[in-house]
Symmetry: C2
Subunit: 412 residues, 2 copies
């Protein structure tokens, strides 16, 4: 039994995490949220109270912290008496916050791989560069650290485990497909900070195929997927966190991640990239001003947070596993469909933040009640998926399964 | 008889003007070139000597001048004893230089309309805003001022006059078509300063149709033209100087200008424009730096001067006049085809600078020998076109005509 939660970060995903923690504060205890800018934390808490999201009266307090400073995070954890840290800050703070949790002996979870600001797309497996190097220390300290427990990575990893446990005797391929069929109504915008968003697509695309890492470039490999609700959608082989852990558990399977992009997004991205406007290296104008082009692109694009009120349409994210069942070829698709407008109505965020922010709160509840409090570092596919599925079903992210037996709810 | 020439400006067109003046310095006398940066003038003179372009031994001297300062230009003209000024500086300096020529009593010519840096695309007719307001003063002072005597405007205006004099009894339409079917081999580049280039396409597109000004937006109206040598090419209704003078001489005709653009150019332009990256208004980055997006775009694009060595392919520019001849409908196309690589070999510039830079030197020769020294302000269509055509034919820009009688040289 663990209680009292500290949320690190105050962006769009943190907003969802805060609302979902408040809706379950009878089981989670005191709630705290900390970021460098305390005003952003206060605004999130205000939105929680506006929606009347606190299930029972209780603490929800804002704090200022520089999450790059492990000692400061340790001090905050100890002062507040929290036992669970949900880290949804920038990917750059993951290791400093994990170090603080190991030091303080509290549970840690995040939703994305650690990134070093100076390096784009390091060598695979990505988790081997930072996270897994700390696995033995987590085990020795008895610290539960759940890596990448957002939607993708996160729920999609758990679905791979469901496929392994329930649907297939042998897995030969895992394809994760992430489609945002929503519309923000702008000429062009990114759903996250443009600087972070574009970083994802400028490096090498790694996939695990034929028992080894394969390298491609972004938008080099694309195919149309026929998805539930949102229909036929073109998606492209993309580098993504979960490929780097699932390939360790299923080395005999091909593991690929596909992200949907419209032709318009690709066109704008391609023009900007080819002109050099996505570069992080400064250029000098004719007037002698030094400026980083990517920062100017960010300045002219809409603020991602401004998109939520007008966002319409749905997302559909799926894990499609193929393999053998009872000696015959078999395939199963596990998926969720989320609605942008419904997410905004409930928690004031668009659907992409919603799908990323609900799962870590489900994980926190499973750590709080001991179910997932495993006392070591794990990726999500290492944990029992059934209680996680059941929680997501009632927390706003219903799971469905589609196979030869039809299209139905996934519950245990 | 006038002698001694001062070239204002030291860009790509000035380079061509310098070489062509040198090739005719037996008739033009002393040559001078002046710009704010004297080093650029010296580099042009060095390239003239490298090519051995001076027809006879003579003066070719570089000078520093701020062409926005009329008094400084007057002083320079008087000190050097020049009688002809070829202004191929930035469009922003046209009126200050014209004022200097009126004051000093010397001949003036330019290749583009005057522009006020703070205004984009003023009300038509454009010449009425600045140039024609000084017509009476030119006449009173006996100053020859030939407006817009590049290729377009310039040669294309003269072709309209040829159509009037030689081929049609009545003109019902004049379409000027400007196709650059060349390739610079870069992902994207502009042939002139990107800042000036993009300014041309962000304002209203004016054409003269049905006896009045019609307004369109850029890339709104396009059609395919079947052009000599370069074949079928798509061109778009574009605002351009010559429409504003030809419509005064031929008010009963429709007068339109069409510029060729590939889909790739339009796509890049559209993306940049819609994102706000062509804006001249500063934006502020997340780090607080104030920067004009258009200046950053200029900084990442190739320097136009760097394109010349690798430029291949041809340009084709035409005036297509329709009307009545001997009581029957008739059409005549007058055109030139120029080759980028040949231009580079001769004068070290690409074909677009070449077509713009040769005609003002032909005009200077006609002012020098008195043929075009008319002692007042004129647009090119007001001058006898025959000696101009004959000169261009031997100066590297052969004129051709295509009508019901075939496709042949145009010479008198």
């Amino acid at each position: 039994m663990k209680r009292n939660v500290l949320i690190i970060g105050a962006g769009g995903v943190a907003q969802v995490v805060a609302h979902k923690c408040a809706q379950a504060n009878d089981r989670l205890g005191d709630l705290h949220i900390a970021s460098r800018t305390v005003g952003k934390c206060e605004a999130i808490i205000a939105s929680v109270h506006e929606k009347g999201a606190m299930k029972v009266p209780g603490v929800f307090a804002a704090h200022a912290v520089d999450a790059m400073d492990s000692a400061a995070v340790v001090a905050l954890i100890r002062r507040l008496g929290v036992e669970i840290v949900i880290n949804v800050g920038s990917s750059f703070v993951n290791m400093p916050v994990l170090e603080a949790c190991i030091e303080a002996g509290v549970a840690y979870m995040d939703t994305a791989i650690h990134e070093d600001a100076g390096k784009i797309c390091e060598t695979p497996p990505w988790y081997g560069n930072y996270e897994w190097k700390r696995r033995d220390r987590c085990k020795a300290a008895g610290v539960t650290a759940i890596l990448g427990v957002g939607f993708d990575p996160g729920v999609v990893n758990s679905w791979a485990r469901v496929a392994e446990d329930e649907f297939l005797d042998e897995i030969t391929s895992i394809d994760i497909v992430d489609i945002n069929a929503g519309s923000h109504g702008k000429y062009f915008a990114t759903n996250f900070d443009p600087e972070i968003n574009f970083r994802e697509f400028t490096g090498t695309v790694y996939s695990w195929q034929g028992g080894k890492w394969q390298s491609n470039s972004m938008f080099e490999v694309g195919r149309v997927w026929d998805m539930p609700v949102v229909g036929e959608q073109k998606a492209y082989l993309t580098g993504h966190d979960e490929v780097h852990s699932l390939s360790a558990r299923y080395p005999g399977a091909d593991v690929r991640f596909w992200m949907g992009f419209g032709d318009h997004y690709i066109n704008v991205f391609t023009v900007l990239k080819n002109l050099g406007l996505l570069s992080e290296k400064p250029v000098r104008t004719a007037e002698g001003l030094e400026v980083v082009p990517l920062k100017v692109v960010k300045a002219v694009l809409p603020d991602p947070a401004s998109l939520a009120p007008g966002y319409s349409g749905k997302t559909c994210i799926a894990t499609i596993a193929r393999g053998v069942k009872d000696g015959k070829p078999a395939e199963v698709m596990l998926y969720n469909v989320a609605d942008h407008a419904e997410a905004f109505a409930e928690v004031g965020s668009q659907g992409i933040s919603y799908t990323a922010g609900v799962p870590p709160v489900a994980a926190a509840l499973l750590v709080a009640d001991g179910t997932w409090d495993v006392g070591t570092m794990v990726n999500v596919e290492e944990l029992n998926p059934k209680p996680f599925m059941n929680l997501l079903n009632v927390m706003g992210l219903p799971n469905r399964v589609k196979d030869a037996g039809g299209d139905r709810e996934l519950a245990f």
